[in-house]
Symmetry: C2
Subunit: 145 residues, 2 copies
DNA sequence: TCATTGTTGCATTTTATTTACAACTATAGC
DNA sequence: GCTATAGTTGTAAATAAAATGCAACAATGA
């Protein structure tokens, strides 16, 4: 069970933007985390399409938060970046082949468990996880030096 | 985010055994769910190694529960069949490359969320999800006919 | 007009998962 | 003991999903 690194990259972008409080270019983000610019492209794109960040092309452009960090719920982010939450095949009603789907009580339990997972993440906003922005930025600066 | 079908197959095996209350052969299990015998082999093997089922070779052999269904916690099963719960890369301390690991608050939140997921599953035992064994067996019988 | 910076779509590589297979060992019954 | 049954083991192939790379493009500000 894991999230895609795609989702995690999206989180890292948001964390960076909220920590600096400024806008940043794709290249800057890539350098900050030591990951290829290409990897970030899609993540940033998805964030933009879902209204979490604003982007501006051209000189002086870049990526910035579209709303205050305190209004960006972590669960919303996860829901929009993660391709799916099909924990078991029966969750995908259309393609299910399991013969006991419908009567299987495990299905419901796994749904509840997934909801519990989401609820836990939903307790926090981007602001909650960037209160220690100085430490975060220091770590990033040190590694990217 | 998803569990491997490997884990789900393990659950299906346990559900079947608990529902019939008898032992079953790999072939019988495969036929019951309409999945290839080969797929089940590893799942059953893992279940055996973790003490959930007992196996007997030879004529009249087969697979049966190693303990009462009421003593088989669903979370234990998931923990032993799922290859890992590395939600994000920093969970795997050895191979982590994320520069903010350690200071990142998201890490802790995701750990809590995972624990919440587990706790939810841990509320139930195999007995809890096979109270409707008749319905389950009927569904299986109908589809495998 | 130009350098900068994000956008888009596609191709490739890599990894994880799923599935298949075959030779092997144990068991029960005759 | 022989034989059919049934699980065991290790490996390999196929598939699917994710991760990564690239290049041509479009917008923007100086
Ligand atoms: S119905 Fe039950 S056994 Fe079948 S896929 Fe869903 S959870 Fe698994
Ligand atoms: S430290 Fe934070 S950003 Fe880095 S991998 Fe862990 S959760 Fe993701």
């Amino acid at each position: 069970m894991k999230l895609t690194t795609f989702s995690d990259y999206a989180f890292r972008v948001l964390i960076y933007l909220a920590s600096t409080g400024e806008s940043a270019s794709l290249s800057e983000l890539a350098q900050a985390y030591g990951i290829s610019r290409n990897h970030l492209v899609k993540a940033v794109n998805t964030l933009e399409k879902n209204g979490f960040v604003r982007t501006r092309r051209g000189v002086g452009g870049g990526i910035s938060l579209a709303r205050p960090a305190s209004e960006i719920s972590l669960v919303e982010v996860a829901l929009s970046t993660e391709p799916n939450f099909t924990i078991v095949e029966c969750f995908d009603y259309e393609n299910n082949t399991c013969r006991i789907a419908g009567a299987c009580r495990l299905e419901r339990i796994l749904q509840d468990a997934t909801r519990a997972f989401m609820a836990e993440i939903g307790k926090y906003t981007l602001a909650d996880i960037t209160g220690n922005s100085k430490v975060l930025l220091k770590l990033i600066a040190r590694s990217s030096a």
